[in-house]
Amino acid sequence: MSRSLFDKVWAAHVIHAREDGTDLLWVDRHFVHEGSHHAFRKLAARGLPVAEPGLTFGVTDHYAPTRGEPASEDIAGMIRTLSTNAQTHGLQHFAMGDPRQGIVHVIGPEQGLTLPGLVIVCGDSHTSTHGAFGAIAFGIGATDVSHVLATQTIWQKRPKSMRITVDGALGAGVTAKDVALAWISRLGTGGAQGHAIEYAGSAIRGLSMEGRLTLCNMSIEGGGRFGMVAPDEVTLNYVKGRPFAPSDTWEKAAAHWLSLQSDDDAAFDREVTLNAADIAPTVTWGTSPDQAGPITGMVPMDAARDALDYMGLEAGKPLDGIAVDQVFIGSCTNARIEDLRAAAAVLRGRTAKVPGLVSPGSAQIKKQAEDEGLDRIFVQAGLEWVASGCSMCVGMNGDIVAPGKRCASTTNRNFKGRQGPGARTHLMSPAMVAAAAVTGALTDVRPLLEGREA
């Protein structure tokens, strides 16, 4: 029987198949961040140890201070609790001050912990990011986190399958973020609900690992708990030589990974195709990631009243030219080295009209960017260059957008209050955020790229 990539990885992890269609799956990697305190408390209440401390990794990111000390005792307490739990259970912990610290979905791949063909879970909905390597990676809640801690397994019913094929070449200044916003605006936030997505097609093959990570990251914003790209040479080149990547067994691993492809005649419950050439730089105008459109367009005439009120916009208003108060470049969606380079390419030699924060996805990316001189470009433009963490993506560490302020952001959620109570968020690519910084308004980045290396 022909099988998809998802089927193959799933089948390789089934410990026990229950008659009702639920499978007990082995978990290869379990990442825990500060939000895991509920799960550790549940574990303690039952007096259970962590079943596989060697496969469980602590990551300080959600509450990580980006400017010195934690902003409050409450925040410091969250960071301490994770350290204590990691210590108690003998977990490797990428803690504050560790040169490998960063956002969980950035450092998993960076350290080579994320590998093709694995099952990876984390108590965070953007765990779908790791699927960019051809892994089954998904977000879970606290009860499931405690279950994985206790057993290194998880009960799951197999989702339906969906393939999003993007063929053709993306235009200049058009990125993986635009592909994500384009499909989500077309299918809606529930468009992939109940489905595992495989991204395929020549435009996807043409993406770097960074681009694929951005795309898989946003799967959940279209309702898909899983997003995947089949492994290829791009994947292998990224993985090779990473600290936790195999070395002795590399040849065997690489051959196995390249075999993880959907069969030619694999059937999907749903197929969606997009033409890469039709995708323009895209921005959100509303309070849900599907409320998005090309920068050349306008706020739709039938836009939801409630979203417009919150965002302080009117139907029919051109998106290009909407004034912003600040910008944010960061998050597990768009704070990898390639993202910082793309933003810097726009900002080089220019001054930002509005203030903003740039928080690299990991301490290692921060260092790399500094070695390349990108930090100086941001600082000279007038933006603040800070340490790595989730920062203004979710505001848990105190980096928030003030009520009523409008922020052009490289993050993944424009929900009401996501960046702080009353904050107005517009999602877009790093290059588009840089363009907004330069002009002080939502702007088509393409003219600003002319004559520059993007």
């Binding site: 390789a12 992890h13 410990i15 026990h16 009702d20 269609g21 639920t22 007990l24 082995w26 290869d28 939000g35 305190h37 509920h38 408390r41 060697g54 509450y63 409450d74 925040i75 912990l113 590998l115 063909g117 694995l118 108590g123 965070d124 909905s125 879970i140 809640g141 606290a142 009860t143 499931d144 405690s146 279950h147 206790a150 057993t151 397994t153 009960w155 019913k157 936030t189 529930g190 609900q193 109940g194 959940i220 309702g223 936790f244 990547a245 195999p246 067994t249 065997k252 691993a253 196995h256 849900s288 409630d306 919150y310 505001g395 848990m396 959620r413 929900f415 009401k416 209050g417 996501r418």
Partner: protein, 185 residues
């Protein structure tokens, strides 16, 4: 967790689409221990601008809009609903992670078409075993994954179930790591 039988009462209504888990509980309240109770933070910020988000005290059933609980995997969104007293949410669709978190906490995510929801009138009785909502005007069926239905009815705890498979798990691990040595660390 004790099993779910049925729940009766006047429903609260939140007829908005895409109510995400950031709305259900804003991030800044999530550092508290559960023992302090999450009920007071349910829809905390949304209550200020959205009258429907001020749910009546004592409500045990919530009728909501499409894609309820989308977004962040925060189980605290379920804690806020449960601690407020909600035992069943009826909506056309749910965020995938929210729905499984709900079931893990004995909260019923019942899927019903908007048309069926619009028919519901007066006090309701949500009968989980029969997968049907009784109301003044009759009875409307709802959808729930049969696996979740059984789990909720029995109040099952997954860890107890899984521990029975201890030997299978150990054998799987040995085989899996022998075949895929890189899956170890």
């Amino acid at each position: 967790m004790s099993g779910f039988t049925d729940v009766t009462g006047i429903p609260a209504r939140l007829p908005l689409e895409n109510v995400d888990t950031d709305q259900l509980i804003p991030a800044r309240f999530m550092s508290r221990p559960r023992s302090e109770g999450y009920g007071p933070f349910l829809l905390h910020d949304m209550r200020e601008t959205e009258p429907a988000a001020r749910l009546p005290e004592g409500a045990e059933i919530l009728i909501a809009g499409r894609n309820f609980g989308c977004g962040s995997s925060r189980e605290a969104a379920v804690y806020a609903l449960v601690d407020f007293g909600i035992r069943a949410v009826l909506a056309p669709s749910f965020g995938d992670i929210f729905a499984s978190n709900a079931v893990n906490n004995g909260l019923l995510p019942a899927r019903m078409s908007q048309d069926a929801l619009d028919l519901l009138d007066g006090p309701l009785r949500v009968d989980l075993a029969g997968a049907v909502v009784h109301h003044a005007g009759g009875a409307e069926p709802f959808e729930i994954d049969p696996v979740w239905q059984t789990k909720l009815l029995n109040g099952w705890d997954d860890i107890d179930l899984t521990i029975q498979h201890r030997d299978d798990i150990a054998a799987f691990k040995t085989r899996h790591h022998a075949a895929h040595p890189w899956a170890r660390t």
